[in-house]
């Protein structure tokens, strides 16, 4: 048998831990929407109380064959394969920004279908491989 003191300390810690686990869970649950670093185009479509004055972030994939670069602006479509949003941006983009890759745009909504970004971040995926292998994969795909 364990000594009484040991048991007392163990139960004290168990109670303390379970209380803090529950409170952390509740806090995270309450904050859930705010923890999201960016909204997907579907989130924006579903939200009714979204304002056009507040800065938000929209994230997803740059849709293939939609990237248009002119002298004044860069225009492309962010998609989450369910909904899309047009993004226009003036400025420099990160190196990894490309069609078919992940992107997070920071800026304001003009309306639910049009987003004016003032900062573009690239979001890369978890795949790492040497360039030769990528070429082989490309050839196989063709």
């Amino acid at each position: 048998m364990l000594p009484k003191k040991v048991k007392k300390r163990a139960s004290l810690l168990t109670i303390l831990l379970s209380v803090s686990v529950i409170s952390v869970f509740l806090i995270l649950n309450a904050l859930n929407k705010n923890i999201l670093y960016f909204n997907s185009p579907s989130d924006i479509r579903l939200k009714s109380d979204i304002s056009t004055n507040k800065k938000i972030r929209v994230g997803g994939m740059v849709k293939k064959n939609t990237l248009k670069i002119s002298d004044q602006e860069i225009k492309f479509i962010i998609t989450d394969f369910k909904n899309e949003i047009i993004v226009s941006f003036k400025g420099t983009v990160p190196n990894l920004f490309a069609e078919g890759k992940g992107v997070v745009a920071e800026g304001k909504l003009k309306d639910k279908k049009y987003f004016i970004a003032d900062r573009i971040l690239a979001k890369h995926d978890e795949n790492y491989m040497p360039p030769e292998l990528k070429n082989i994969m490309k050839q196989n795909a063709k």
């Binding site: 810690l13 831990l17 686990v21 983009v93 990160p94 971040l121 795949n127 790492y128 040497p130």
Partner: protein
């Protein structure tokens, strides 16, 4: 058996282990670094900046792993009050803090060329900062509160609460939208990192672990010397 874990006995073992690690560490470090920085291929997308991964990822793993150890040992120490555990906990904490900071700093340096920003308050990065804060609080408690029993009690409770943060860090990239990409190396299922890059990464991880062990043993040795000196004074 009891004598085996006495401080004097442990001290001799630590000396031997330190010498052993010293003898192999630098050769291994050189090998791992040359694999990571020269011999491994660049990434198809990121080019050479992917090499930051070989420091960033092992450092983050060690930051997480040492906090898990520290918290579990703290819980044991809180309940059973074992003298040696206190020393171990005191020796782990600074290592964890350093490696968590390394992970955050290298991540920030890596973020600039790839994401286009040094910093983003997304769930993964914020929870890593919280981890560093927990380490910092635990170390401060051990330093500031001179009554050993009280210091142990408080830091154990802090560590136990901090343990909740570990799964949050691990799964933050899956539960919420983050700028940080999901894990490439999965416990179950296939890794999405090519073998030619995975091997240097694991080698670097091994070298980092050795380095941690070295620092840990040295710190443990110092703590033993401190105790011995205290008891000498008492005489």
């Amino acid at each position: 058996m009891f004598n085996f874990f006495s401080n004097s006995n442990v001290f001799v073992w630590i000396e031997k282990l330190i010498n052993f690690i010293h003898s192999i560490f630098f050769a291994l470090l050189l090998a791992a670094l040359s694999f990571a920085l020269i011999l491994s291929p660049p990434d198809y997308l990121q080019g050479d900046s992917v090499r930051i991964m070989y420091v960033h990822v092992p450092a983050a793993w060690i930051g997480l792993a040492s906090f898990t150890c520290l918290a579990l040992l703290s819980i044991l120490n809180f309940i059973f009050k074992i003298k040696n555990l206190t020393l171990i906990i005191k020796s782990i904490a600074p290592i964890g803090l350093i490696f968590t900071c390394i992970a955050i700093v290298t991540g920030s340096i890596w973020g600039q060329p790839t994401w286009g920003t040094f910093w983003a308050w997304d769930a993964r990065i914020t929870s890593m900062v919280i981890l560093a804060l927990f380490y910092f609080i635990i170390i401060t408690i051990q330093k500031l509160i001179s009554e050993e029993d009280k210091a142990n009690k408080i830091s154990s409770i802090v560590a136990a609460i901090g343990l909740i943060n570990i799964p949050i860090i691990k799964y933050s990239v899956e539960w919420w939208n983050t700028l940080h990409q999901p894990a490439s190396i999965k416990i179950t299922g296939e890794s999405t990192i090519h073998t030619s890059m995975l091997m240097p990464l694991l080698l670097m991880f091994f070298v980092f672990i050795l380095y941690c062990a070295l620092i840990f043993l040295m710190k443990y040795k110092t703590e033993i010397i401190r105790i011995k000196r205290k008891s000498l004074k008492r005489l």
